[in-house]
C-alpha cells in the first residue's frame, strides 16, 4: 500500500470521447460499451511502477458536458497530469481541443503535464482525424500525444504511464515543488519525514501579522 509518490490526474475532453471508458480500462481492465453519462466528477485509482518506484495514481474523470464545466474547472489546479481526450471519429471533438487547452492552461499550475489522446483507434473505418493532425497539434502546443482504444486497451496503459514518467522526470529535474500539494503531487509516507513538519499554509505569513 505504500508508495513513493502520489500523482493526481484529471481526464478532460468533449462528452462521449471515451474518458470514463479509458479510466475503467486502466483501473479495472474492462470495457463497458454502454456507459452512463458522467455526472460531475468520478474517482478512480491505481498503482503503477516507474523506475522501480511505486507510484499511486489518483484519477478524476470529469464530465464532458458544458453544463458541468464550472465544476470540472475546480479540478485543474490540484492536478499534476491531465489527459486531454478527443475522438478520432468525430472531427468536432478535435476542433474543440484549443478551447480545452486554454481552459486547462488558465486554471492549472503551469507545470501540469498534458497528454493528448486520440481515442477510439479501433474504429479505423470511421476515422475523421488523421494521426498526423493529432501529432501536429501536440507538437505545436507542447503536449505528449498518443492514439488509444479504450475498447481494445491499445495504448491505454502507456498513456497513463507515459504521463507519469513525464511528471516523474520533471520531479527529478526539480521543476515541480513536491512539497506543495496543490501541484497534485505527494510524497509517500516513508519518503517524507520532513513533510509533516512543514507549515501547511504559510504562503502569506509575512503580511500584516498583528492581529487580535
Amino acid at each position: 500500500m505504500s508508495y513513493a509518490y502520489l500523482f493526481k490526474y484529471i481526464i478532460i475532453g468533449d462528452t462521449g470521447v471515451g474518458k470514463s471508458c479509458l479510466l475503467l480500462q486502466f483501473t479495472d481492465k474492462r470495457f463497458q460499451p454502454v456507459h452512463d453519462l458522467t455526472i460531475g466528477v468520478e474517482f478512480g485509482a491505481r498503482m503503477i511502477t516507474i523506475d522501480g518506484k511505486q507510484i499511486k495514481l489518483q484519477i478524476w474523470d470529469t464530465a464532458g458536458q458544458e453544463s458541468f464545466r464550472s465544476i470540472t474547472r475546480s479540478y485543474y489546479r490540484g492536478a499534476a497530469g491531465a489527459l486531454l481526450v478527443y475522438d478520432i471519429t468525430r472531427r468536432d471533438t478535435f476542433n474543440h481541443l484549443t478551447t480545452w487547452l486554454e481552459d486547462a492552461r488558465q486554471h492549472s499550475n503551469s507545470n501540469m503535464v498534458i497528454m493528448l489522446i486520440g481515442n477510439k483507434s479501433d474504429l479505423e473505418a470511421r476515422r475523421e482525424v488523421k494521426k498526423e493532425e493529432g501529432e501536429a497539434f501536440a507538437r505545436e502546443h507542447g503536449l505528449i500525444f498518443m492514439e488509444t482504444s479504450a475498447k481494445t486497451a491499445a495504448n491505454v496503459e502507456e498513456a497513463f504511464i507515459n504521463t507519469a514518467k513525464e511528471i516523474y522526470q520533471k520531479i527529478q529535474d526539480g521543476v515541480f515543488d513536491i512539497n506543495n500539494e496543490a501541484n497534485g503531487i505527494k510524497i509517500g509516507p516513508q519518503h517524507s519525514p520532513a513533510n509533516q513538519n512543514m507549515p501547511a499554509g504559510g504562503s502569506g505569513g509575512n503580511q500584516g501579522g498583528g492581529c487580535c
Binding site: V41, E42, S74, Y75, R77, G202, C211
Partner: protein, 935 residues
C-alpha cells in the same frame, strides 16, 4: 473620534433622542459622501456599533453603501474589516447580548438580507477575493460572513460558489491557515458548504480535505480533543455520507488506516479520570458513525466489502472489539460500538471469523458473542443496547453458514456442556423467559441462526427440551407452538410466529413435524378466522395466515389429515378465501412492517416499536404471493419449486385432450360427408324416378290422345281389283293392328289399367317413403351439425383459455400446438359450414321433389280419371267395332271367296299370286309396339 462621540452623545443633551433609523441614515450619508478615508472609516465603525441593535435599519439603509465600500476601499484593511463585521451582524440570526431583546425581531431577517446580498453573485465573488488577503481583520470576518450566508441560504450560495472559479479551492485553503481561529471557523464554513452537495464534496475531497482534516484530528488529540475534533468529524461525515466516489477515494487514499489509532483507548487514562467527558463521548460517537458510513449495508456492495477488508487488515476491527470488551465505556458509546462492529462484520467471512474468536476478559474467558447475548436476554440492560446486540448477532450470522451451525450446535444434546454457558442456552432462556422483549429478541436471533440454511432447520428439529420432572421431553418446535397457543404478550407471539415461519419455510420435514401435532392447525385456523380488529391482533392473524400458507406450500402430503388439498379445503371452508387474503395482505401494509423492511439496523427508541424483523420482512415479501396463489389457485402442483413444471404438464395434458376431441370431430365430419354423398345419390335417383314418372305420364297422355280418335272405318266395297285388294289388305292390317292394340289396351285397362292405377301411387309412396327417410336423415344431420357446432364453440373457448394459459406459461411448444389446433378448428368450422350449406341445398331439393311429388300424384289422379272415362268410351267403341268386325268378317269371307275365285282364275290365266304372309309380319310389329308402350 470626537465627532463620533458628539454625534452619539449629542442628542442626550438636547433631551430628544433621535431614532436609530435617523442615526443610521446620517451615518450612511457620511459613508457615501465623505471624501476622506478616515471619515468613512469612522462612519462605518459607527455603523458596525449600531448594527447589532438596529439590524433592520442598518440592513435596509446601509447594504448597498457597505458593498460599495468593499469595492472602493478594499486596500484599507481596517474599513474592510468594519464593513464585513457590520454585514455579518446584519445577516446573523444568532441572538447577541447587545441586541434589544424586547424589540420584535423578524425570525429570518438575516435570511432576507442574505437573499438581497447574494442576488448579485458578484458580491459573493468579491467576498471570496478577500480571502486572498492575509490580514486577520479581513480574512476572519470574511470567513464568518460567508459562513452565515451559507447558513441562511445554503443551496443558493452553494451553487454560486461552485460556479466561481477556484471558489471551493480558496475556501479549502483556509484549512491551512496557521491561525487556529481562522482554521476552526473554516471548518464550520466547510461544513455548511458541503452539506448535501455531492459535487462540492468531491471538489473539497480533491483539495486534500481528508488528509488535512485527519491531520487536524490527530493534532487535536483525537477523541480526547475538543470541539474542533467534533467539527472535523462532522465535516468528514458530510464528505462521505452517500458519496460513493468520495468513499472510494477515502479507501484508495489509505485514510481508513489512519482512523485506527483514534480508537485506541488508554485504559489507565480513562480509569484515572473516572469517566468519559461529554466531548469525548460525542467524538467517539462521530468516529464510530464515520466507520459505519463506510461500511453501511446501503452502500454499493463492492464498496462495503472492500472497506470491511481494509478495516480487518489495518486493525480497526480489532480496536473496535477491544472497546466492546473494555470496562468503563459509557453505555451509549458501547451501543454504538456494537452497531459499528455489526456493520464491519456483516456478510464478511473473514471479519465474522475474527469476531467469533474474540474472547471477553472474564474468568473463565467467554466468547464475546455469549457475553453479548447475555445482555440481549437481560431485561435490566438498556433497550438500545439489546437492540444493538441483536443487530450484531444478525450481522454475525448474515451469509455465515459456519456461524449458524456453531450456534445451533450449542442447542443440540450431544454438545451439551453443563459447565459453561452457551449461546444456545441463552437463546432458549430468552425464548421461554417471562419478558416478552426477551422472547422477541431470542426468537429473532434463533430465526437468523436458521434463515436460508436448510441443514440447520433440520438440525433444530432435533432439539428436545426437558420439562418439569417426570414429564417426557418436548421438542423445541412443539414448545414454541405450545407457547404460542397459550397466548402471551404480543411481542412473544410475533417472535414465535416469525421463527416458526422461517423454520417451516422451505423445510417439508419441519412442516410435517408441525402438522403431526393435530392441535396446531386448528389453533392457526381459529386465529385467522377470529374477527378481532385491533391492530396488534390483526398482525398476529396475518402471521398465522402466513404460517398456514407455508404449511401448504412446503407440504410433502405425508399427513392425510393436513395434506395440501386438505389444508386448502379447510382454509377455503373455515376461513374463506377473501378473509384469508385480507388477513395476509394486512401484514405488509402495517407501518411497523415498512419500517422494519427499510434496513437491517434496528433503530428503535422504544420497546413498543419492535414488531417485525428485517429478514422476516424479506421472507414474507418473497412468499406472500406464492401463498396466495397456493390457497386460491385452481389445484395443480403447488410445491414452490415444481410449480412451473407442473403447469407445463397440465398444459400438455390439456393439449392432448383437445387433440383427441379434434380427431373425433374429424371422424364425425367424414361420416357426415359420406352420409351427405349417399343422400345426394339418393336425391339423384329420386329425381330420375320423378323424371321417369313424368315420361310415363307424358306417354299416358299421348296414349289418351291417340285413343281419343276412333279408327276410321273405311270399307268401301270396291271392284275386284288389286288396288282394292291392297287397300283392303291395308285396312285389314290397320284394323288388325288396331284390334290387337285395342285388345292390349283393353287388357291394360282391365288389368293393366288397374296396374297403372296402382303403379303410380306405388311410386309416389316409394317417393314419399324415401322423402321421409331423407327428411329423417336431414334432421339427424341437423342434430349432428348442431352437436358439432356446440363442440366447436366449446373447443374455441378451450382454445382461448389455453392460449391465455399458454401465454402465461409462455411455452413455445404449447403455443405452436395451440396455433395448430386453432387452424384445425378453423378447418373443421369451415367444413361444418360447408355441410350446413349442403344440408340446406338438400332440404331445398327435398322440398322441390316433394312439390313435384305432389304434382305427380295429382297428375296420376287426373290420369286415372281420364282412364276411367276412356275405359267407358272404349267399351262402347269396342262393341261397335266388334259389330263392324263381324260385318267385316262376313265381308271378308265373301271377299276371300271372291279372291280365291280370282286366284284360281288368275292361276288359270298363268299369273302367280303371293301369299299373305306379310300381313302377319306387320301384325307382329304392331304387337311389339304395344308391349313396349305398356311398359
Amino acid at each position: 473620534m470626537d465627532y463620533f462621540r458628539n454625534m452619539l452623545g449629542g442628542p442626550q443633551g438636547e433631551g430628544q433622542t433621535p431614532s436609530g433609523a435617523e442615526t443610521v441614515e446620517r451615518l450612511c450619508e457620511r459613508v457615501s459622501s465623505s471624501t476622506l478615508l478616515d471619515d468613512r472609516r469612522d462612519a462605518v465603525r459607527a455603523l458596525k456599533a449600531l448594527s447589532k441593535k438596529f439590524r433592520l435599519e442598518v440592513g435596509t439603509q446601509a447594504m448597498d453603501i457597505l458593498i460599495n465600500v468593499l469595492e472602493q476601499d478594499r486596500n484599507d484593511a481596517e474599513i474592510t474589516g468594519f464593513t464585513l463585521d457590520t454585514l455579518y451582524h446584519v445577516m446573523s440570526n444568532e441572538p447577541t447580548d447587545e441586541e434589544d431583546t424586547s424589540a420584535p425581531v423578524d425570525s429570518d431577517l438575516g435570511g432576507q438580507f442574505t437573499e438581497i446580498f447574494i442576488k448579485k453573485s458578484d458580491n459573493v465573488s468579491l467576498l471570496l477575493s478577500f480571502l486572498e488577503e492575509y490580514d486577520f481583520h479581513v480574512r476572519w470576518p470574511t470567513v464568518k460572513l460567508l459562513t452565515v450566508l451559507l447558513t441562511n441560504r445554503q443551496k443558493d450560495l452553494q451553487e454560486i460558489i461552485l460556479v466561481i472559479p477556484m471558489g471551493v479551492s480558496r475556501l479549502m485553503d483556509l484549512l491551512s491557515d496557521s491561525r487556529e481561529i481562522i482554521r476552526n471557523d473554516a471548518l464550520l464554513l466547510l461544513n455548511q458548504l458541503t452539506k448535501g452537495h455531492a459535487n462540492i464534496q468531491k471538489i473539497v475531497a480533491f483539495e486534500n480535505a481528508f488528509e488535512r482534516i485527519i491531520d487536524i484530528i490527530r493534532d487535536e488529540g483525537a477523541s480526547d480533543g475538543g470541539i474542533v475534533v467534533e467539527d472535523c468529524l462532522l465535516l468528514l461525515q458530510n464528505l462521505l455520507r452517500n458519496n460513493a466516489s468520495n468513499q472510494n477515494f477515502f479507501k484508495e487514499g489509505s485514510f481508513v488506516q489512519r482512523l485506527t489509532p483514534f480508537f485506541e483507548l488508554e485504559s489507565e487514562n480513562s480509569n484515572k479520570q473516572g469517566g468519559w467527558s461529554a466531548q469525548k463521548v460525542t467524538n467517539m460517537h462521530l468516529l464510530l458513525q464515520l466507520v459505519r458510513t463506510l461500511v453501511s449495508p446501503n452502500n454499493p456492495q463492492n464498496q462495503t466489502v472492500a472497506c470491511q477488508k481494509v478495516m480487518n487488515q489495518c486493525g480497526l476491527l480489532q480496536e473496535l472489539c477491544s472497546i466492546l470488551m473494555a470496562s468503563g465505556v459509557p453505555a451509549d458509546v458501547l451501543t454504538e460500538t456494537i452497531n459499528t462492529v455489526s456493520e464491519v462484520i456483516r456478510g464478511s467471512t473473514a471479519n465474522q471469523e475474527y469476531f467469533a474468536s474474540v474472547l471477553a476478559p472474564s474468568t473463565p474467558p467467554r466468547p464475546a458473542i455469549v457475553v453479548l447475548l447475555m445482555s440481549m436476554v437481560n431485561e435490566k440492560q438498556p433497550f438500545v443496547l439489546r437492540c444493538a446486540v441483536l443487530y450484531c448477532f444478525q450481522s454475525f450470522l448474515c451469509k455465515n453458514e459456519v456461524g449458524q451451525s456453531q450456534i445451533i450446535q450449542t442447542l443440540l444434546p450431544t454438545a451439551a456442556d453443563a459447565n459453561s454457558i452457551t449461546a444456545g442456552q441463552l437463546l432458549c432462556g430468552g425464548l421461554f423467559s417471562a419478558d416478552p422483549l426477551s422472547n422477541w429478541f431470542a426468537s429473532v436471533a434463533l430465526l437468523h441462526a436458521i434463515v436460508e440454511n436448510h441443514t440447520q432447520k433440520e438440525q433444530l428439529l432435533r432439539v428436545q427440551l426437558a420439562t418439569s420432572l417426570g414429564n417426557p421431553p418436548v421438542s423445541l418446535l412443539q414448545q414454541c407452538c405450545n407457547m404460542l397457543s397459550q397466548g402471551g404478550k404480543f411481542q412473544t407471539r410475533i417472535g414465535l410466529l416469525m421463527v416458526l415461519c422461517g423454520w417451516l419455510c422451505d423445510c417439508p420435514i419441519a412442516v410435517s413435524h408441525f402438522l403431526s401435532n393435530t392441535a396446531n392447525v386448528p389453533y392457526l385456523i381459529s386465529q385467522v378466522s377470529s374477527s378481532e380488529g385491533e391492530e396488534h391482533e390483526a398482525i398476529v392473524q396475518g402471521l398465522c395466515a402466513f404460517l398456514l400458507g407455508i404449511c401448504m406450500l412446503y407440504n410433502d402430503d405425508k399427513s392425510e389429515a393436513f395434506s395440501k388439498s386438505a389444508l386448502k379445503q379447510v382454509i377455503q371452508n373455515r376461513i374463506g378465501l377473501e378473509s384469508f387474503t385480507d388477513k395476509l395482505t394486512q401484514v405488509a401494509q402495517n407501518e411497523n412492517y415498512t419500517r422494519a423492511a427499510k434496513k437491517p439496523h434496528l433503530y428503535y427508541k422504544h420497546p413498543n416499536e419492535i414488531v417485525f424483523d428485517y429478514s422476516f420482512t424479506r421472507l414474507f415479501k418473497s412468499l406472500e404471493n406464492e401463498v396466495l396463489k397456493a390457497v386460491s389457485g385452481s389445484g395443480g402442483a403447488i410445491n414452490g419449486r415444481t410449480l412451473l413444471g407442473g403447469d407445463e404438464d397440465q398444459y400438455k395434458a390439456l393439449l392432448r385432450e383437445q387433440e383427441e376431441v379434434l380427431s373425433g370431430l374429424r371422424q364425425q365430419l367424414e361420416e357426415m360427408q359420406g352420409q351427405n354423398s349417399a343422400s345426394e345419390r339418393r336425391v339423384a335417383e329420386l329425381t330420375d324416378q320423378v323424371q321417369q314418372l313424368r315420361d310415363q305420364n307424358a306417354l299416358l297422355k299421348a296414349h289418351k290422345g291417340s285413343q281419343g280418335t276412333p279408327p276410321p272405318v273405311a270399307a268401301s266395297p270396291s271392284g275386284a281389283s288389286a288396288e282394292e285388294v291392297e287397300s283392303l289388305q291395308r285396312e285389314v292390317d290397320s284394323l288388325r293392328s288396331q284390334l290387337t292394340e285395342k285388345d292390349a289396351q283393353l287388357q291394360a285397362s282391365a288389368a293393366g289399367g288397374d296396374e297403372d292405377k296402382e303403379n303410380n301411387p306405388d311410386g309416389g309412396a316409394v317417393l314419399q317413403a324415401s322423402l321421409a327417410r331423407l327428411q329423417g336423415e336431414v334432421a339427424s344431420r341437423d342434430q349432428e351439425i348442431s352437436g358439432l357446432k356446440a363442440e366447436v364453440t366449446r373447443l374455441t373457448t378451450e382454445l382461448q383459455q389455453k392460449s391465455t394459459q399458454s401465454a402465461e406459461a409462455s411455452s413455445p411448444e404449447s403455443d405452436a400446438a395451440t396455433a395448430e389446433l386453432q387452424s384445425r378448428l378453423q378447418a373443421s368450422e369451415s367444413q361444418v359450414a360447408a355441410l350446413t350449406e349442403e344440408r340446406n341445398s338438400l332440404q331445398e331439393r327435398v322440398k322441390k321433389s316433394n312439390e313435384e311429388n305432389l304434382k305427380l300424384a295429382s297428375n296420376v289422379r287426373t290420369l286415372e280419371e281420364e282412364k276411367q272415362n276412356a275405359g267407358g268410351d272404349l267399351r262402347e267403341e269396342m262393341e261397335t267395332l266388334k259389330k263392324e268386325q263381324d260385318d267385316l268378317l262376313v265381308l271378308l269371307a265373301d271377299q276371300d271367296a271372291k279372291i280365291d275365285k280370282y286366284k284360281t282364275k288368275l292361276k288359270e290365266l298363268g299369273q302367280e299370286v303371293e301369299d299373305d304372309d306379310d300381313d302377319d309380319d306387320l301384325d307382329d310389329d304392331d304387337d311389339d309396339d304395344d308391349e313396349g308402350d305398356a311398359d
